[in-house]
């Protein structure tokens, strides 16, 4: 008995957290996600539908889900010479790799100044730099596995004012993780001064865990640590509420149903009319959302597997 206590003490002196305690909290690890969840619920052929953002868009449009309008698709370097044909006189647009991952290679243009394009944060992009960026995308610099890619130029979504106020310059988006079609965790991703307009967590964005019933903030993660205030504004996380929450959840459910992946991250923005717009779907959503929600995903997954009824108020 005493030996067991001693052993336990020795363990906790060496390890930051004992595995048993994480398991008790229902924390999902990367190996667990890959071996127990992805292999079982996400068949390889379906990844094509989420890895190719144009394919995702097509499916969404067919199902009546709103997506950003596509202005142009660049699939050959020759097209890059004629920026006027691709972009024309547009003031605002977004350049994205079709098969990009983790927000890499995304360029958000918010205005023009003379010949130059103005990226979020007043950074001037010369036409020359824009052409090079497009060529880099085509060459596969940002694509999954480094293979040759296409670039797409699409509508820049003007975010909802309530969320824009929280995110300096960039657009906030909502990430909802769905398991077997049911939302199990949600997080609002806010760009910060450090993340240059992008909301991806590993680029310095803040992730605010959301109560699934109400869409209000419960906790937040920033640079891998739990925080309870917005790092730029100092506003308490509990004050944050996502408008039109029921519509956002409904869009996420529809997206999961259309794609067919059993474990899926739905990335959704709210436009200035509070309409949910699907940005993309992710077939291998990350695990930091657990920190933002101060809770484990495995627990939720087990609830769904056990056929636990959904808490009222979601539908």
């Amino acid at each position: 008995m005493r030996a067991a206590v001693e052993k336990r003490k020795l363990f906790s002196a060496v390890l930051p957290a004992r595995p048993g305690r994480l398991r008790a909290a229902g924390v999902l690890g990367l190996n667990g996600r890959n071996m127990n969840v992805l292999i079982r619920w996400n068949p390889k052929p379906l990844y094509r539908l989420v890895d190719d953002k144009l394919a995702t868009k097509e499916l969404c449009e067919a199902a009546g889900l709103a997506v950003p309008r596509t202005f142009a698709v660049v699939d050959h370097p020759v097209q890059v010479r004629r920026l006027d044909r691709l972009i024309g006189a547009r003031e605002e647009f977004v350049v994205k790799p079709v098969r990009g991952a983790g927000g890499r290679g995304v360029m958000i243009i918010a205005g023009r100044r003379g010949e130059d394009y103005l990226a979020v944060g007043e950074r001037a992009i010369s036409p020359e730099a824009m052409r090079y960026h497009l060529l880099e995308i085509l060459g596969g610099s940002y694509s999954i596995g480094g293979r040759a890619d296409r670039a797409m130029i699409e509508q820049r979504i003007i975010g909802h004012p309530a969320l824009a106020a929280l995110s300096g310059g960039g657009t906030a988006d909502v990430r909802i993780v769905l398991y077997r079609g049911r939302p199990v965790m949600a997080m609002l991703r806010l760009p910060t001064a450090a993340s240059a307009g992008r909301a991806n967590l590993h680029q310095g964005g803040i992730g605010v865990g959301l109560d699934l019933r109400s869409g209000t903030g419960v906790a937040a993660v920033w640079n891998g640590r739990i925080v309870d205030r917005h790092v730029d504004t100092g506003r308490p996380i509990g004050d944050i509420a996502v408008p039109a929450w029921a519509e956002v959840l409904a869009a996420a459910r529809k997206l999961a149903a259309v794609i067919g992946l059993g474990y899926l991250g739905a990335d959704i923005v709210l436009d200035d009319q509070a309409r949910p717009i699907v940005l993309e779907a992710n077939g291998r959503p990350g695990l930091s959302i657990q920190l933002a929600n101060r809770g484990g995903l495995m627990k939720k997954i087990k609830d769904v597997d056990a056929g636990a009824p959904e808490r009222p108020g979601i539908e």
Binding site: A17, L22, R23, V27, L135, G295
Partner: protein, 242 residues
């Protein structure tokens, strides 16, 4: 879980065969092993035979410890490419590639070339530097071993490009962590490869490979927490906090 049973069964058979074979050899009932081949082949053979253990080590670090490296087999390849290099010229080649390569890569970045030619130019510059250095050393009366520089150069050029791209995408801090982890695992693999006792074991006990494969099956089916995740998710741990 059907695969789970298969994996356990196969691993059990491999372990039984491996341990049994080694036990028989220890009991003096050995049959052919690789030491029967001519002695001049032993070193190369030993290196070849240790490579799987290097891959196992890398897999262990990635999925159980949780440190990511540039590429799954890169650390093993890097270690292997250094085999014909003595320690001093190995360090020199590495430092040269890093300094000249990163500098050259930064300058080339401004020219906005596509990736293939860009890598080619970096490799050319590195080759010229190395060949130049050798010429100088010969003039000074030193005799470097040119064969030693051959292999690391190619692997290092690719590692350099990945490192550079990673700096742009993940930031310097995260990229340095990746690089250090890659080098540390490569160093450990190198230690294995250069360890004469391990080489003798690999030559004398072919069954050891079965044990390596069994261990890989274990690592490959591991679905528990990574060591680094105990740190990453420590704030979520249930129960009284210390």
């Amino acid at each position: 879980m059907n695969q789970q049973r298969w994996v356990i069964l196969i691993a059990a058979v491999l372990i039984a065969a491996g341990v049994g074979g080694i036990a028989l050899r220890l009991a003096g009932l050995g049959w052919a092993d690789w030491t029967a081949l001519p002695p001049e082949t032993h070193q190369t053979l030993a290196w070849l035979l240790i490579l799987p253990a290097g891959a196992l080590l890398t897999a262990f670090v990635r999925t159980i410890v949780g440190f990511q490296t540039f590429g799954t087999l890169t650390p093993t390849l890097l270690a292997a490419s250094y085999l014909y290099c003595d320690r001093a010229s190995g360090v020199v080649v590495f430092a040269l590639v890093m300094v000249v390569g990163l500098g050259g890569r930064a300058l080339l970045g401004r020219l906005r070339l596509q990736m293939g030619p860009r890598l080619g130019i970096i490799l050319t510059v590195l080759v010229l530097c190395l060949a130049g250095a050798m010429a100088v050393m010969y003039r000074l009366g030193l005799s470097p071993r040119p064969a030693g520089a051959m292999m690391p150069l190619v692997v290092l050029t690719i590692l350099l490009e990945r490192f550079y791209v990673s700096i742009e995408e993940n930031g310097l801090g995260a990229s340095l962590r990746l690089l250090v982890a890659t080098l540390a695992v490569a160093g450990a693999c190198g230690g294995l490869l250069a360890w004469p006792a391990v080489g003798r074991l690999a030559l004398a006990y072919p069954e050891a490979q079965l044990l390596v494969v069994a261990a890989m099956l274990g690592v490959g089916r591991y679905s528990g927490y990574r060591l680094t995740e105990l740190w990453r998710f420590r704030e979520l741990a249930e129960g009284p906090r210390r």
